[in-house]
Amino acid sequence: MKKTIILFVVILGVLFVGLSLVDTSDYKLEKKLWQAQKQFKEIEQDPKAVPDQNYEDLIAQYRKILKQHPEAVLSRKIHNKIGKIYILKKDYVKARSSFQETISQYPDDYESHAKSLILIGQSFEMEKKYDEAVQAYRRLMNDYGTTDLGVNIPLYIMHLYVKLNKQEDAKRALQDALTFYSNKVQANPGTEIAFKSKRLLAASYFAKRDVKNGIATLGGLLTEYADSEYLTSQQMVLTVKTINTMSVANLKDFDTPIAIYQDFLNQHPTHKYNGYLQQTINGLRALKDKGVDVRLQPVVKKKPNVQ
């Protein structure tokens, strides 16, 4: 019996060691990064209370991981993570230098570049160096405009100017955004980037208070992408709700959304969202018949009681 038990232990041991040795996945790297991330979160909770040594230890830990796994795809995030530690330390120059390393070391990784440029811009914003921040964002917009982060940045620049109360710059940024999104839609027809750009083009029209063009753009989005995987159920509901809100509440116009949805139903008689659209049409007709006055609820700031 003892021999059998020893055999069992040997089998389990050999299997464990064997599977560990042949494992070529990023599992060990994932574990190290998770542990480092855990420490990062601890520092992030109260950066001021953390001794400098902890920051340095964590940076050293990240550099060690990078040295051990230089070729791994996950390692590409490490320079940005080190940069974020410097941000917590408020050492913005070193942070940006770390973000820049991602761009210089991985020239083919556009998504990481985009992330680095966003972080560079944010670090400038934290220092209230807004011109430099916008410069980084514009670089992101021009060079990485087809990335997830890049496609959102033109409108962000506009909102940043609005926040800074620079109305003229905001107007120009909005015009740039409209041009950017129109170009993206034309240059990449039928793609995900065109889908996102069209949605953001509509948002830009709404920001310009050109509600009619915004609604028309969203209507076009529905018809153009009816059979596309990008028009998920969430996107469908979001688009329909935006059209309804902007048209009914802003323009008191029930007919345009009804016409858009009816047009969709006629063009795609067996579409899976037809039930939802028919329900929306019925709802809009009922509201129109009742003469309901739909308004956007203004955000009311509660004034403190002054005695």
């Binding site: 059998t4 069992f8 089998i11 599977l19 560990s20 599992y27």
Partner: protein, 292 residues
């Protein structure tokens, strides 16, 4: 082993059984085989998200749980969930454990009859009753699954309660907090209902239905005694419930490896509790037989 006084003294019977279990390692051996197989499955699941096993398990994990569960630390949550999965453990119990529990009972019977405790012979005897053991194992499994389903309905009803104070809130909290303990109680109850089926098959060489009749005959006069005898060793599992509940509550602060470690300890502990259960109740069955 035979002492008529001990038949109705729970602690004395339990003590005798545990002593028998450890003094005759042959009785424990079938359970060691069960533990080995459990550990083997655990190792395979542990390495399932990694190369080369990921080639096979990767698409299954991605489809059933999501691609994120192929990566650390989420892979450990799946490891714990899958390893302790009711279907997997029930399947193992019916297909595999049943014959080895039968083997262990055959060894106890041999020792009781002053015969040599030979694993091969005991296994042969158990294997010849495999179909009946399989059917005998499926009864507590089916009962447990049925009771768990009813328990889930109660939990689902409790979750609908919106009250944040008062009697309904207390009921909701009681149902939710007591859920894992209730589950343990249901498992003990299910095991109690059919605990003498295996001894009747192996000791008396009965087929499934006569063994079932003998089980209820024995149980008829000693239900609460049997329930108590099974509940006592099952209490060893309580710390596991507390630890697993606590680790779930503090998921963010504990190392994910802990989930894997707790899962493997929980399953091995269940096998050990099974060993005590079947040794104790087989001893009781043999003592009752001698009394008659």
């Amino acid at each position: 082993m035979s002492s008529t006084k001990k038949t109705r003294q729970p602690f004395a019977l339990l003590k005798t059984s545990v002593n028998t279990l450890f003094s005759h390692s042959a009785i424990l051996f079938p359970y060691i085989i069960i533990m080995f197989v459990e550990l083997l499955i655990f190792e395979i699941l542990l390495f399932a998200p990694r190369y080369p096993l990921v080639k096979f398990f990767g698409p299954i994990i991605s489809r059933l749980e999501g691609a994120v569960f192929l990566h650390y630390p989420f892979s450990y949550y799946i490891l714990a969930k899958w390893f302790q999965n009711n279907v997997l453990q029930s399947f193992l119990f019916m297909i595999f454990n049943s014959v080895f529990i039968g083997t262990s009972i055959a060894i106890i019977n041999a020792i009781n009859g002053n015969q040599p405790a030979i694993f091969k012979a005991a296994f042969k005897r158990a294997a010849s009753f495999y179909v009946h053991l399989f059917l005998g194992a499926s009864l507590p499994v089916a009962t447990m699954l049925g009771l768990s389903y009813l328990h889930q309905l109660v939990i689902a009803r409790a979750l609908i309660i919106r009250s944040t104070t008062g009697m309904y809130f207390i009921i909701k909290q009681s149902v939710l907090i007591s859920a894992p303990y209730m589950n343990l109680l249901l498992a003990v109850f299910s095991a109690t209902l059919f605990i003498y089926v295996f001894p009747a098959i192996i000791v008396d060489k009965k087929k499934f239905f006569p063994a079932l009749a003998a089980n209820f005959k024995t149980l008829w006069k000693s239900f609460w005694f049997t329930f108590f005898m099974l509940l006592l060793p099952a209490l060893l599992y309580l710390p596991m419930i507390v630890l697993q509940s606590a680790s779930n509550l503090f998921k963010e602060n504990v190392y994910p490896e802990l989930f894997g470690a707790l899962a493997v300890i929980a399953v091995l502990l269940s096998v050990f509790i099974d060993a005590i259960h079947y040794t104790t109740m087989t001893t009781y069955y043999l003592l009752k037989k001698e009394e008659q």
